[in-house]
């Protein structure tokens, strides 16, 4: 197994909800991320799936310390990033990069493509003059943008091209890890394939690790090596990619997979759709016991009472569900 790049231990992020005119009193916590642990290895893609409100974006931002976690550890190069100040993080940030979801919002509209890709180089004061030009030209080339586009502004590019620009910017410092926060959601279907292939190629070439956050299960299956399924701030299931899609254990995973329509009318005609009842509850007031039990079609008496822990189901497959816990300490 390749070496571990990032180790996340018991990460939690609570957002306080306050009320009051002068002295704000805390009345509740929005438990966006509620105790998550996993590891990411060198050169691998860890897919993170879940629906809105599950905390996946918050988790991604916590790992990069763009949001400071409430508790837990994020270990990178033997250091806990949560303990480091913003200033101390600067050299480390060169190795941990991001690709954002919105290709319109993630680029400064006043910067040319050259400026955008070069910004990380300028912040870290790497190279001037000719070397700078070369180091900016290379990522542009790698993502398939022509050199004359360097002087253009973001509004002159299409959505797919802007996203490529974001990828180029993330590559400029040759990072070890890139957090991809729903990078394809805002793109058209045929452009998604382009960017997905690009991300794949770059990983093969540079051995960069990805945390690929998405709500699109088909896309996650394509690019990930391992997959985590999150719901309401907690991990429901972790597994190798093929295992998860062939043999989903958690009822939530099963419902998710069933809800994804397959682009083939013949297949769809014969499929049963598991329709979950109700909606995702508010993270301010998560259900007791297993957070999924109110919507679970296989819930039984113990589910509201006991919080299931992530248990090993064999072969690297872990699931947090009372259906699979044979013994409890």
């Amino acid at each position: 197994m390749a070496e571990v790049v990032i180790e996340v231990n018991n990460l939690a992020k609570y957002f306080p909800v306050t009320r009051g005119l002068f002295r704000q009193k805390k009345i509740a916590d929005v438990k966006a991320v509620n105790g998550v642990s996993f590891t990411i290895h060198k050169g691998e893609t860890l897919g993170l799936v879940g629906e809105s409100g599950c905390g996946k974006t918050t988790l991604g931002k916590c790992i990069l310390q763009l949001i400071r976690p409430t508790s837990g550890e994020v270990i990178f190069e033997s250091q806990d990033l949560c303990e480091l100040s913003d200033k101390e993080l600067v050299p480390i940030r060169a190795k941990l990069q991001v690709i954002f979801q919105d290709p319109y919002d993630s680029l400064d509209p006043r910067y040319t493509a050259l400026d955008i890709i070069g910004e990380p180089l300028r912040i870290h004061e790497i190279s001037k003059g000719k070397e700078y030009q070369e180091r900016v030209a290379e990522p542009m080339n790698l993502v398939g943008l022509a050199p004359y586009m360097a002087e253009r502004y973001p509004h002159e590019f299409s959505g797919g091209q802007r996203q490529r620009l974001g990828v180029a910017r993330a590559l400029a410092l040759q990072p070890e890890f890139i957090m991809c926060d729903e990078p394809l959601s805002a793109l058209d279907v045929s452009i998604q394939a382009q960017v997905l292939n690009l991300l794949d190629d770059l990983q093969q070439k540079f051995g960069v690790a990805y945390l690929f956050i998405s709500h699109d299960l088909s896309v996650v299956r394509h690019i990930s090596d391992r997959v985590i399924v999150m719901y309401l701030g907690k991990v429901m299931e972790i597994s190798n990619r093929d295992e998860l899609y062939k043999n989903p254990l958690h009822p939530y995973t099963q419902a998710l997979l069933s809800a994804v329509p397959i682009p083939d009318p013949a297949v769809e005609m014969n499929r049963e759709v598991i329709v979950l009842k109700g909606e995702v509850p508010s993270p301010m007031n998560p259900p007791s016991g297993c957070v999924f039990h109110p919507r679970c079609y296989r819930a039984f008496a113990d589910c509201p009472k006991v919080v299931p822990l992530l248990a090993d189901a064999g072969g690297g497959h872990q699931v947090a569900c009372l259906l699979y816990e044979t013994s409890r300490p």
Binding site: S190, D216, P261, P263, P265, L276
Partner: protein, 330 residues
């Protein structure tokens, strides 16, 4: 039996700073009673504009429906007076938009918004309207409807707002519902709920549905016939089975190949379509897809291919296909 809706050769153009954008450039399709069809395409292909054209909701003076006919239940909508058209909207044809926030008035309660249409089209009193609103909210699966009619839109979650929008759309029992990307902004499990709800409603009331989307999976699950749009034109249409299993246009084939499928073994590399859609201000002379097409022949550059029948009720606008070959079929 005659189709409920026949869109014939519609042209909708927009005047912009840089020139005239030919958003919809000669599009025809039809919907039978009780049938669900899908308009598929990516952003900018004109599917939304063509739907707005049906309801004459195109933003004037910049946008104009220049040519064509829209025959709904025997009447040409484009020739109706504004007043008569107003009576159509919401009553006989209604529309569900992509983002509930932009379409629902934030300062009116949900009950009032549903009731508005009922008061106008069905001459109900406000009290009757609110009662009916509660009944409709129950129909679309919103719990405690008798209380919820007094709530404001911001007190509903995203999925609930979309359900409320569906309630508004079905309030006057329309014959046709246009659903423009109704589930793009919601999660996959909510999407399943909403689409199943729409399916049940259309089945129960025999309502026709035009489903506009870029999601090929939804189309496969819910639509009987499919119309594929590209750069303001329909480039292929037929039954869902035919179009998905025997695509007769390289764009359709390319789209299908670029979507990863959960039920197939994982492909090592997705097939993508290189390049981007053309500029609608100066569309190319020949086939609009030609510069991205791996199978084009010289004729494609010079002449725009018309829609021709390639199989029983299966039409395509592609020279290569019309010559009898389908090199993209594996």
């Amino acid at each position: 039996m005659a189709p409920l809706l026949e869109v014939r050769n519609i042209k909708t153009y927009f005047q912009t700073q840089d020139g005239i954008v030919k958003a919809v450039d000669g599009v025809s399709y039809d919907v039978n009673r009780g049938e669900t069809i899908a308009l598929v395409g990516e952003s900018g292909c004109g599917k939304t504009v063509s739907a707005l054209s049906i309801l004459r909701l195109v933003a004037e003076p910049a946008g104009k429906i220049l040519a064509g006919e829209i025959i709904f239940d025997g009447v040409d909508l484009l020739k109706l007076s504004d007043e008569d058209m107003h009576k159509m909207r919401g009553a006989r044809i209604s529309i569900i938009f992509q983002e509930p926030q932009t379409y629902i008035n934030p300062v009116l309660t949900i009950g009032r918004q549903i009731s508005e249409g009922l008061e106008f089209h069905k001459n109900m009193s406000p009290r009757e309207g609110m009662q009916e609103a509660a009944r409709l909210l129950k129909l679309v699966g919103i719990p405690h409807p008798e209380r919820r009619i007094y709530d404001y839109p911001h007190q509903f979650s995203g999925g609930m707002r979309q359900r409320a929008m569906i309630a508004i759309a079905i309030a006057c029992q329309p014959q046709l519902i246009i659903a423009d990307e109704p589930t793009t902004v919601v999660d996959v499990t909510i999407q399943a709920q909403l689409l199943e709800l729409i399916r049940n409603i259309t089945k129960e009331f025999n309502t026709s549905l035009i489903l506009i989307t870029h999601n090929l999976g939804i189309v496969a699950r819910y639509a009987k016939r499919v119309f594929v749009m590209y750069a303001g034109n329909i480039i292929e249409y037929g039954s869902a089975m035919d179009v998905y299993h025997f695509p007769c246009h390289p764009y359709t084939a390319g789209l299908l190949a670029s979507v990863p499928r959960l039920d197939e073994p994982r492909k090592v590399r997705l097939q993508s379509i290189e390049g981007q859609p053309p500029d609608l201000i100066a569309p190319p002379r020949g086939c609009a897809f030609q510069d991205r097409c791996a199978y084009s022949i010289p004729q494609c550059l010079n002449e725009k291919p018309p829609l021709q029948e390639i199989g029983p009720n299966h039409y395509t606008a592609c020279w290569v296909s019309q010559k009898g070959t389908r090199p993209w079929q594996k």
